[in-house]
């Protein structure tokens, strides 16, 4: 007690001396030092309490899928309570979850981007960036790849000149100065091969069309009214050279191709009609139905070929239908039925190897194909036995060479025929011996 009093008295005295020599600032510094020391010795329980409140918040944020914020709070909790061995594990877990989620959304974004579904791609890149704010690739896509570019990059080739490049890109060699300006080059000097140039993308109004697009559109419209569809396509082709995205021109082209397709269909020129319909935008009114009608007519035609056992023609027509309508079930059925019938004919003709080849092309899931495969196997086995017996007959008549030939036929049809294998071996050995005797 007395010692405590003495030490307190010493502190008081020190403060007074400090006050006289350094004023309030000195006293304050001294007091702060003391209070800091006291804070350093603060009970561990207080730190742990603070830490646990941040830990709780971190877990709450994690539950709400706010992983970045959860990570912030977890890091704070970890710093406040370095002895807690669970927190570093939780931090690692959060980091890994963030990486996984960001990576997954980024990959989805790239897939959408490749399919040119830019809105969906943007949403995925934003989500990746929300999970991982430092995701440089997601940011690159959002800021640099998704917005339209004002330049095209062009790598200079060996014989390139600026005028040549200007002609190629702007349809106007006199725009060489533009390339020179944006690439810090001189117009009178040849660009160095391999150099990557930036060519500003110019709008239609700055490229030099040798035609008046507005007039050409009117011309195309009039031709369409007069049902001169091929000529419409000719005019649109000219316009597209300068303006591929002209909406009016696209509409006129769709209308002309559709009408030509209908006409060809009427003339029963189905493949040509389909080729024409394919040139029409899929959303064009009536085109889907027109394609379906052609497919139905083609199917009828193919079925007639099948009735007449004209298998190659049947397969050609049905295959053509699948070219433009991959999911056409009737065409698929027809193709497999054709293969079955053809195989059956070949079995009757005892042309088993050809029958197998035909069935190889068919879909084994089809019932008729399964049956045909089973039939051909049975027939082959049966025929193998016929040849085997014939071989035995020859053998008994001491016609060894003919016997071997028959058994070889047996093995061709049934390679697993053990007796045939054994008999061939014996017959050959006998033949050798006989040859030595005579």
């Amino acid at each position: 007690m007395r010692n405590d009093m003495k030490s307190l008295l010493n502190i008081f005295l020190l403060i007074i001396v400090l006050f006289f020599f350094t004023g309030c600032a000195g006293v304050r510094e001294f007091l702060e030092e003391i209070s800091d020391k006291i804070a350093e010795k603060a009970p561990e329980g207080k730190k742990a309490l603070i830490s646990s409140s941040y830990l709780e918040k971190a877990l709450e944020y994690e539950k709400d899928n706010e992983l970045q914020t959860a990570l912030f709070y977890m890091q704070i909790a970890g710093t406040l309570d370095p002895d807690n061995t669970e927190i570093p594990e939780k931090i690692a877990g959060l980091r890994s979850a963030i990486d996984k989620k960001a990576g997954r959304h980024f990959a989805k974004g790239v897939a959408f981007y490749k399919k040119r579904k830019f809105k969906d791609a943007r949403r995925q890149f934003l989500t990746a960036l929300r999970y991982a704010p430092g995701h440089k690739d997601a940011f690159d896509y959002l800021k640099n790849r998704l917005p339209p570019k004002e330049y095209i990059n062009y790598k200079v080739k060996n014989k390139d000149t600026l005028k040549g490049i200007a002609k190629k890109f702007y349809n106007d060699p006199s725009k060489d100065f533009l390339i020179a300006y944006f690439n810090n080059l001189k117009t009178d000097k040849k660009p160095v091969p391999g150099t990557m140039l930036e060519l500003p993308i110019l709008g239609l109004e700055f490229t030099r069309p040798s035609i008046d697009i507005r007039n050409e559109l009117i011309k195309a419209e009039n031709l369409l009214k007069e049902k001169r569809y091929q000529e419409v396509l000719g005019v649109i082709g000219k316009i597209n050279k300068y303006d591929r995205l002209n909406k009016k021109a696209t509409d006129l082209k769709n209308a002309a191709c559709y009408q030509i397709g209908i006409e060809l269909s009427r003339q029963e020129k189905y493949p040509e009609a389909i080729e024409m319909f394919k040139k029409v935008a899929p959303e064009y009114q009536g085109v889907k139905e027109a394609i379906q009608q052609v497919a139905n007519k083609e199917l009828m035609k193919a079925k007639n070929f099948l009735k007449q056992k004209q298998y190659e023609q049947t397969l050609a027509v049905a295959g053509r239908i699948l070219d433009y309508d991959k999911s056409n079930k009737a065409a698929k059925d027809l193709i497999n039925t054709t293969f079955c019938q053809k195989a059956k004919d070949l079995i009757i003709q005892k042309n088993y190897s050809q029958a197998v080849k035909v069935l190889d092309k068919a879909d084994p899931e089809y019932f008729c194909v399964k049956n045909a495969i089973s039939d051909v196997k049975k027939a082959m086995k049966k025929q193998a036995d016929v040849h085997y017996l014939q071989g035995v007959k020859y053998f008994l008549n001491e016609e060894l060479k003919s016997a071997i030939k028959e058994w070889e036929k047996t093995l061709t049809l049934n390679p697993e025929h053990k007796k045939a294998k054994k008999n061939i071996k014996n017959a050959r050995s006998l033949l050798e011996k006989l040859e030595k005797v005579y």
């Binding site: 009093m5 008295l9 008081f12 005295l13 403060i15 007074i16 006050f19 309030c24 006293v27 304050r28 007091l31 702060e32 209070s35 804070a39 603070i50 709400d64 899928n65 706010e66 970045q68 912030f72 890091q75 704070i76 710093t79 406040l80 943007r122 949403r123 934003l126 989500t127 960036l129 929300r130 704010p133 940011f139 959002l142 800021k143 998704l146 917005p147 004002e150 330049y151 106007d172 006199s174 725009k175 100065f177 533009l178 300006y181 944006f182 930036e198 500003p200 993308i201 110019l202 709008g203 109004e205 700055f206």
Partner: protein, 337 residues
């Protein structure tokens, strides 16, 4: 004579009194100083316990070296005000640069005013009262008026900006900007940008260079809107491509030089006359060192907006607060999960 024990008590009592007096003197002699407990978490966060004297901006000044960054502390801690003893985290870095949330992303409206009149709204004119009401609405509803540099740092994903951020711009350089808008902007302490087309300055109803200088010295960022206000996106009928190209170069480079000469300020932003642009113009702006350019598409801007096609919402005619509120879209809903 007191006993030795009593004497010690008296001496101790005197010392105690002296000590308390001394402490009181020291505390009252430096009222601005206060010590708060703080814990640093790496270089990322500081945890502080606020004292009665602390405000969000005093803490921002102390820890972020910028009292105007009070919003950063408020937003991280989801608070609007501070109370004594409150424990809070001060983030030392931009913790959400793109303003991305699970159900939305941040957008920034950029307002553009042209000219003002005392009473009559016109084709490109807003009345003084409407303008005052707009600024009052921004102030009273927690909007933060930010500068173009701040906006571009946000668009470049470098810095975070307050959740409710707005940019105010003025176009062309009508004198009414100086006479009517400037005093109101000064009253509210809002920063703004004035895009001038330099041939207009000093003309009939236009602002003078002297006035432009004064605006520049009083929180207005002076930027350019070309030399003559020609439509940059289209070639004139009788103009050859080469003439058009040369004209573009002059429209873009000349005002930059002139502003530098007149105000000794770097011009890095351009407002497209009529809001129109094309690839060639943008390529040229980049070549001449412009950081960004502005259209007049009525939409707010997310951080991933094209820096050379930044949207602005023009305000003219009769525009009361009800109409004005609709322009201030500061977020866009979108599931980001």
């Amino acid at each position: 004579m007191p006993k030795p024990a009593n004497r010690r008590k008296i001496v101790f009592g005197h010392f105690s009194l002296l000590y308390l007096l001394l402490l009181a003197a020291c505390v009252t002699s430096s009222p601005e100083h206060h010590k708060i407990s703080e814990i640093r978490i790496n270089n990322d966060f500081i945890i502080v316990k606020a004292t009665a004297k602390d405000t969000l901006s005093s803490l921002a000044a102390q820890y972020l070296n910028d009292p105007a960054k009070d919003w950063l502390i408020a937003e991280f801690n989801h608070i609007k005000t501070l109370s004594a003893g409150q424990e809070l985290i001060i983030p030392l870095f931009p913790f959400n640069k793109g303003g991305l949330k699970s159900g939305s992303y941040q957008t920034v409206p950029v307002l553009v005013y042209y000219s003002f009149s005392k009473n009559k709204p016109g084709k490109s004119t807003v009345t003084q009262d409407d303008f005052k009401a707009h600024m009052k609405y921004l102030k009273e509803n927690g909007y933060n008026v930010i500068t173009l540099d701040q906006l571009l740092d946000f668009l470049d994903y470098k810095e975070q900006i307050p959740e409710k951020s707005v940019v105010i711009t003025f176009d062309d350089g009508w004198r009414s900007i100086y006479n009517i808008a400037f005093p109101i902007m000064k009253e509210y302490g809002f920063p703004a940008t004035l895009f001038v087309y330099t041939d207009f300055i000093g003309g009939g109803k236009a602002i003078s260079w002297k006035q432009v200088k004064k605006l520049s010295e009083n929180g207005f960022d002076i930027q350019c809107k070309t030399k003559t206000h020609r439509n940059l996106a289209t070639k004139k009928k009788k103009e050859s491509f080469k003439e058009y190209f040369k004209s573009l170069e002059m429209e873009i480079s000349y005002p930059k030089k002139l502003i530098k000469k007149k105000l000794n300020k770097e011009c890095r932003y351009l407002a497209y006359p009529y809001g129109k642009t094309n690839n060639l113009v943008i390529a040229m702006l980049k070549k001449h060192g412009y950081r960004a350019a502005f259209t007049v598409e009525r939409e707010s801007n997310p951080f991933f907006a094209d820096n050379y096609r930044i949207h602005r919402s023009p305000i003219y005619g009769k525009c009361d607060v009800k109409k004005f509120k609709k322009i201030l879209s500061v977020f866009q809903n979108m599931e980001l999960k």
